[in-house]
Amino acid sequence: MEKLKKSKKSKFRTFKAFLISRFIFINGIISIVVLGLILAFLVYNSIKFFSSYPFFSFITGTRWSPTVNEKFGFVPLMVGSLEVAFGAIIIAVPFSVGVAIYIGELAPRPVREILKPIIEVLATLPSVVLGFIGLKTIVPFIKNFFNLSIGLTALSGSIILAFMSMPTIISISEDAINAVPNRLRNASLALGANKWETTYKIVVPTASSGILAAIMLGLGRIIGETMAVLMITGNSPRIVFSWLQPVRTITATIAAEMGETVQGGLHYSALFAIGLILFLVTFLINFTSDRFVNRIRNL
């Protein structure tokens, strides 16, 4: 009976486990509270904005000219953001998925071991640096190639954002491909499939939800990106349906104008309103991609 009593050591261990679990719990709570506060702040300022500016004119307005005549039309910014993001995804996805398949399935071991860390490092390049590189390379290239008067276009933004999202998409897609169990590859090969058939009939479909998650996360990065697009898309808040003209994205608008507004003014709160929309969109994208990631984990 005596033996069943808790020793000093085991009491200490219970206490330690208690402390650790508390610590983790408190951290979780803090991040949720901070997130809540950010959201509350955004919502508060947005409400302030919409109480003096009609929601309808905001959401359907085709002009964004806050300083000249206090017009806060959201459409040009949305079109700008969508144009740049859509272009970026179109460029990034085929390339990234191709590279991921190459690294994950086809590359010889040494090549894979070199490429993987390089790509992961690329994912951490600060966007100002990328923006600067884009300004010096892509912008003049676009200008000359299409014979434009100015190279600061939606297309330039798309290209630089595509570069920016590629490492994310590649490395997460590659993880998904790696997570496909070898026994499926063996089954396919043993039935007489070659390496390539096995890759596109078994490996890629099995990894597809992970690849989709990778694309969503890439999209999240694209939509949330600020500095690079601010530097190279030309910043013209007009509605244009051409990739070869300057545009202005939501993020670039906030970054460019926040410094010039009167704190608490209408313009100031308008920027929070578009910030709220951005927040909701990125939240939705990340939320969806998370569900896809979970699906591949359960394989």
Binding site: R183, N186, L189, L191, G192
Partner: protein, 259 residues
Amino acid sequence: MKNNIKIQTRNYGFYYGNTKVLADIDMDILKNSTTAIIGPSGCGKSTFIRTFNRMNDLIVNAKVAGEIKIDGIDIYKDNIDVVDLRKKVGMVFQRPNPFPKTIYENIVYGPRLHKRCTKQQLDNIVEVSLKKSALWDEVKNKLRGSAMELSGGQQQRLCIARVLAVDPEIILMDEPASSLDPISTQRIEDLIDELKENYTIIIVTHNMQQAARVSQKTAFLLTENIGEPAKLIEYDNTDKIFTNPSDKRTENYITGRFG
């Protein structure tokens, strides 16, 4: 008698890098019968049967020595098409490994790789293969359901059906029932017994009773000294191996004295 031989190995040996794991195996495997491969863990049973469909090709630095002939043709000759070989030599793995697709898709996967089939033909292949693997009655109403939702035993029979669908002549089975419950195991054994009428089956098993029940010939592999390659100690009719083995080491192994 000679015509009855499906697979023939001569001076067969196998290397992983510089380590020789199997040596000097001469074996004639008979057509339309079941041959059991037994031996202690790590002696190279899996390695041995994986050479018959060249699954070992995937392992870097692995090397085969000697000769392996199927229907008199050396399968390690340069002009052998591995795809054709694997069509002829199917394999069932230790753990059931259905594709995360529908039951139907699992079975038509092989046939679709190898030839153009009409929907009619595919439907037919699915039905015939599932009937041969004794799974048809259980799944005929959910062919479009996911294969992952079947039980382990059903999954393994599906994997057998998937192999049968490409119409092989030889079926390799590496401990096909080791992850299954007794009833599922029983069904797999019954199935093997039926299949041997039309196929040449080679089965690796750790279960002595199973080897005795399903096979006509049994081969015993053993690594005698650590670091040396395993050898074929005895290869004979299953009845003889299990009642009156001619080698003392075989007797020790099957009576459970080591391994």
